[in-house]
Amino acid sequence: MNVYHPKLTAGLWLAGMLLICILGSQALTKDWLETSFLALLPTSEQQPEVAKAIRQHNDLNNRKMIWLAGAATSREAIGHAQKLKQRLEQSGLFSKVTLEFSAQQYAGQYRQLFPYRYQLLDQKTREMLVKNPEDLIRQNLEILNSPIGQMQAADLERDPSMIFGRYFSAQNPVKLNLEQGIVVLSGQQRFWALVLTDLRDDKLQLDKLEILSGLVDSASEQVKTAGGELLVSGMALFTAHGAESAKQEISTVGIGSSLGIIVLLWATFRSVRPLLLSSLAIGSGLLAGLVISVLFFGKIHILTLVFGASLIGVADDYAQHFLCDSFGEHDWDPRKGLKFILPGMALGLASNLLSYAGLGFSPFPGLQEVALFSAIGLLVAWLTVVLLFPLLLTGFTFGHDPAILKLTTYWEEHWPLWVAKNRRWLGLTLAVFIAGGLWILTPQDDVRLLQSPPADLLRSADKIRQLFPMSPDNQFFLVSGKDQAEWHQNEQKLLMRLEALKQQKALAAYEGLSRYWPDANRQLQNYQLLQQKLYDSGLLERYMADLGFDQTIVQAEHKQFAEAEHKSLPLSEWLATADESKRQLWLGCDSGRCQSTVTLTGINDINALSAIQDLPGVAWVDQVESISALFARYRIRASVLLLVAFGLASLGLGVKFGWRGGITIMSVPVVALAVSLAMLGWFGQLFSLFNLFALLLVLGIGVDYGLFFFMAGDRRVSTSLGVTLSALTTLLAFGLLAVSSTEIVHAFGFTVTAGIITALLSAPLIGLKENKK
């Protein structure tokens, strides 16, 4: 830079940051943080109808929470549940809290469907009528004579053959024990009263999640003090736990690393100025990255923030490099310093921006967000160093010789010599180490590995599943047909297969609309079946006469049957009577396609289920599997992008320094990356898409270190200090994440640690020949 105007550049910086602050004050007042995992996935990956089905399925499932209040007697359990219900309602988190299941709803449903009783038959009754209608009569006698028969034959006068009673009871295949209208389950030496809730939002904000966890904890405590036990499960709890533990760890690690960095920088510079300056550089970068990304994307994901913030950490290199350059000369001033380091820093920035830009070309929204966020952040942090530091570093000198300088000076002098002396066996060991590690390295893309829910949450969820096996699993079938008739036919075929699998215990239960609602054809068949087997054959008349029905009732029954011949129950009307969970199965008809989902509960043999692909119009939807597959695909894509980034950086450096120089500089990140990967392999660490962010950070930092040493010339001592300080701060900031129990965060920290240490060790080995006199 020929013209050096610190005040002018600082003014420019200030104006820019003001603009960003003004933009930020508008952008950040809205709801800008996205926490849903699915938002990271590209929408184009899924067919729209599958995406719609998944959305509907998740929308329903993610909002559901199941609460079981347990006690020694059912009365106590109900008491706990009643208190719990009150609390839940007061919390305002839920749109629906259900404790009592009103008999009125059933009565209404009964009334509405009753006129169509000759069209509606459940599967078992139909089979009985087809095979041997006498069985139906026999079963009726059994029921009527049973001590509990009155309950099942309550409407004997209007439903003498009890066909509608059968259909109605088959609508609710799981028999639940009701006390005072409350579902009471028994098991595990306790009685459990059931409370079902729907959260108001399917994507809870972080603060709401915290309120929710607090509510669960205090409610559990309350029931426990009263001598009971509370079991809770729901997707939201897992999300809440994940968010909470990540937050907690990040803040613990954050405090630890901040302290470490403060101590380190204080010990080196004996001044707060460097600390404030590097914080300012990174802080400005973060702010700018955040504001611009929110303006551009509307909302950014919490993971973007975490990974993006890490990548901006590269900016620390520039700050440290500038600061440490002051050790290089006695009559140092910012002007000279900047002049010396600017070319290296510009090249470092360019190569990093190039590699981040690579991410932006992926169709993965998460990666695009990270790319923009980090690129803007890094650029602004870099500009802060270049534009603002000259003014703020005026008069910045060292009157002391920090201990760390002696250490790095010694290190810088002796380490390359030692390596050179031992290069044969070192090279061999390194090659074997890298080759072996890469050989062992196996990618793990299973999305479940990324979650680490605590054991007690899992235990609760498991207990609830045993007591109340009603919540559908993640996997489901999507059934379609060109019209209702075809859809119905397709779903019926699927349900038959599922019934067979259920008998083989491959799953506990399934739920599909066509099980309850016969289409127009089937309704006609049902009517004809009844006509042929019961009414026209005289069987019903004989049965009614034998039981002692009045002749007028017999005649009235036959008359009603004859009158109902042309009745047909449309799906819309049936759906209107059904409860929410059944209504949600229907996805509707549009543009020549009718669709529904078939939900599954208690899957034991997922392979047997996923194998049902040969049926027409049936698609198997396994989100866990497809997200995992997606992760695998994007891991590969991101790896390619990483290679492209390497290529671009090498090309750029090659143009500037010639291919030999380019290779020399690039050897630092290449070795760092290889060792990092090998370490992942040797230690059996999780290797997935998310490690690639860490590798990108390693690439950026490796290029910087390589460049700084390559261009150090006679300032190797100050360069060594700058690089060491930068590496130590990076390790403190991100390497510490390796202690996290959240898999993604841990993997990130581990990868960064391995890569940075390697880069720190290999960078001093280059740029030697040029200046060793």
Binding site: L144, S146, N177
Partner: protein
């Protein structure tokens, strides 16, 4: 029947003075005390809609801890198994209001808490025979049952259930024995009730 006795003692304690204490104590003392009871039943159901009663016969087995086996032999052989959490019939597990299943079991000496929680008791004693009239307190149960009358001497001999809808069920018990052990077949039936 030990459970009926326990029931009486329970009523004695919590019957809110409706039944004379002395009467309940005396009735309780008269009853046979064993954990297992077995006998024949004869059931007549008078349904309003039918002009003749539904008559069935069979055997019952009561076990203090395991529940009740209600085995109908005529006119159609069938089996009903019940304990405090489950009710099985030939059609599988049944969704009946818990109150009903509980009451039925408690009749033969089962869930005392359920019975006494829900009923007010009126006892008359004409030695050696006695009669207890139970009226439900709970509104849900009132809609189903208006009264239940239990009568007996050293055993429960008869049971009459008056339903709110006007249907009446009368059951009489004969040949009551108190075996020391369940038969293999009975054990197997109870086994089906355990989860």
């Amino acid at each position: 029947m030990i459970l009926l006795k326990a029931l009486l003692l329970y009523l004695l304690a919590f019957g809110q003075g409706i039944a004379g204490e002395a009467v309940l104590t005396e009735i309780a003392e008269r009853l046979a005390k064993t954990p297992i009871a077995h006998g024949d039943f004869h059931q007549q159901k008078h349904l309003k809609v039918l002009q003749k009663p539904l008559i069935s016969t069979g055997t019952f087995t009561y076990h203090q801890n395991k529940g009740v086996i209600w085995k109908t032999l005529t006119p159609v052989a069938s089996l009903l198994l019940v304990n405090e959490s489950k009710l099985l019939t030939g059609q599988g597990e049944q969704a009946v209001p818990a109150a009903f299943g509980k009451v039925f079991k408690a009749m033969l000496g089962g869930d005392i808490a359920a019975l006494t929680e829900g009923f007010s008791v009126n006892a008359t004693d004409q030695k050696p025979s006695w009669q207890l009239e139970l009226t439900p307190k709970d509104d849900m149960l009132k809609r189903i049952i208006s009264t239940m009358v239990l009568s007996g001497d050293t055993e429960l001999r008869a049971l009459e259930i008056q339903e709110a809808g006007g249907n009446v069920t009368r059951i009489s018990f004969d040949n009551i024995t108190h075996p020391a052990q369940l038969t293999g077949e009975q054990e197997a039936d109870f086994e089906r009730l355990s989860p």
